[in-house]
Symmetry: C2
Subunit: 338 residues, 2 copies
């Protein structure tokens, strides 16, 4: 498969980062790829604690780790220079490296040279340089679900992860397909679709959810929003390339305008549903929505329950909050597909 | 302005290319940037003849040329190695270089070194590496028209060029804004929007049609089609970033399926109009169509006339073929904008 392929298990590098807000990648990995995280690598006890065993790269390699993940997002996107020697040490200890930073580890000369000399891999998962084909739009086998949204950063990745996990637990064939850097580190593979050359957005989506068995589901992480003035092109290419049989609309009821775009209103759910179906039918004529995933994290239990019930009655679709209610009603809906 | 900026006038390099089909770029420049083309540079009289004075780079520089344009598209996209020395000679004669090839002239070491040493520029207009901002969606001053299409390669560039030319001839303030390689060479500036990183499509469109005087029109070359399974993401990002006040729908009535995508039907014009208006309103609530541009090149005069009349009656919009009827009815429509 023509995507990043990162070997598990992982050692999560925290270094000296003491602000948990900058260690979201590490927390996401611990929560969603727990079985793949065998330890944390910290320079000091004051650093963020993931509640994983502390290990050096050397010990982690002995314990079976294959890849060191840079688990933090430094302010400014540049890794502190003091980390370079530790990363080189990890390569020498036998580990590959992976990071989701704007700065590419592979452009740090000492790391690039060491990796080449030792035959190790460096995965800069926010970037994608390998060759892609343009999208074809030709129907392919297997089933696909895509999470879409009324905005960025409101739970499309979590909804997809939760659905894939619940399906697997039920014995259904399902794979999470990652389209952004954290998702790629969690699943160990994928393509950051917003980082490919524009001509290849839908081609990238086709490459990361290839033809599969008729009863196999790819659960694809959505990106951006069709209603976003900056990112709608990415969202549309991903929608066309994914050829989804099923869509889940992700929404944050507390948001009135787009995140960081106060001049842009959040669309109505009915309008978002209609627009997505209309666009998705180009490559998947039978597509339908199977649920709504609300991010009610800013609400009380009572308010959340009311909002979910009201949305469900209005939209006549299962409404869930993956973190609060789970996603079983959506999984039940998926079982009705032939 | 954060786009390619190519100095005119041009010397068009044909070299030894004897197949006119591979010299479309040169013919496009001769037809649409005639005042900027002061000569052609051919190795032999058997090469394609643009009916321009034959000149060497040295003579062209004396005659005032500023840039040598590679006017051919070699089979395979790679320039013959025998051309490298001639291109280096052009740099030494005082000319910048520009090309719209997949292969970058700037990655040919001898050319890159020579250009750096002499302070000359190399424009690989199919590529765009400079820094862009993501789209903001904030309304900006000035008026903008975008040509959109039911498919690729059916006349969006020619329609935009013809409209900009006719407006200028009428004394209106209008600039053609190029979004593809041939358009960039014609206008001397622009960004190939399908070559930017996907996150920056609408940001690129905002950069190439910046705020302007209230009665100034940017006439923006469209790309791809909202109904294309490979390129719709580019088309949507360009639509949102352009914030068009006016749209022109380009269509080839003889095409039943998308070019090179026989499994994908061409959309109905009514559906294409509705889909574009719905998407464009996100950043330009007052947007409307001002005309239809039909490519009737495969038809007899009589059939073309009938088709234009029928479409105009059906769609209640001015219908033209820029090559056959001119675009005056569209320009008249634009005069009605406040």
């Amino acid at each position: 498969m023509n995507t990043h392929q990162i070997q598990k298990p992982y050692l999560l590098m925290i270094g000296d980062m003491d602000d948990p807000g900058n260690a979201k990648t590490a927390f996401g990995l611990r929560d969603w790829a727990a079985e793949a995280c065998i330890g944390q690598f910290r320079f000091t006890e004051k650093a963020v604690d993931l509640d994983l065993p502390d290990m050096t790269p050397g010990l982690a390699a002995v314990a079976g780790a294959k890849t060191l993940i840079v688990g933090i997002a430094p302010p400014g996107g540049q890794l502190p220079e003091t980390w370079h020697a530790f990363l080189e040490g990890a390569l020498k200890a036998g580990l590959d490296l992976a990071a989701g930073l704007h700065q590419r580890l592979s452009t740090i000369p000492a790391l690039a040279e060491c990796a080449t000399a030792l035959g190790r891999k460096i995965h800069d998962v926010r970037h994608y340089d390998a060759r892609l084909a343009v999208g074809s739009g030709i129907r392919r086998a297997g089933k696909r679900l895509l999470t879409v949204g009324t905005d960025c950063a409101l739970g499309k990745k979590y909804a997809a992860l939760a659905i894939a996990k619940a399906m697997t637990a039920e014995g259904m064939k399902a794979d999470f397909r990652a389209t952004g850097q954290t998702g790629i580190l969690i699943s160990g593979q994928g393509i950051a679709v917003d980082a490919v050359v524009a001509d290849f957005i839908s081609g990238a989506a086709e490459a990361l959810s290839p033809a599969n068995e008729p009863d196999h589901w790819d659960i694809i992480e959505g990106q951006g929003s069709l209603f976003h003035p900056a990112y709608a092109g990415v969202s549309l290419g991903l929608l066309h390339g994914s050829q989804p049989d099923a869509l889940v609309l992700c929404h944050d009821p507390s948001r009135k305008s787009l995140d960081s775009f106060p001049h842009m209103p959040v669309p109505r759910l009915e309008d978002a549903i209609a627009a997505h179906l209309s666009a998705a039918r180009l490559t998947s004529p039978g597509v339908r929505f199977v649920g709504i995933s609300l991010n009610t994290s800013a609400m009380t239990d009572e308010a959340a329950g009311e909002t979910l019930a009201k949305s469900q009655a209005c939209l006549k679709l299962p409404c869930v909050d993956p973190m609060r209610t789970g996603v079983d009603p959506i999984v039940e809906e998926l079982k009705t597909f032939g």
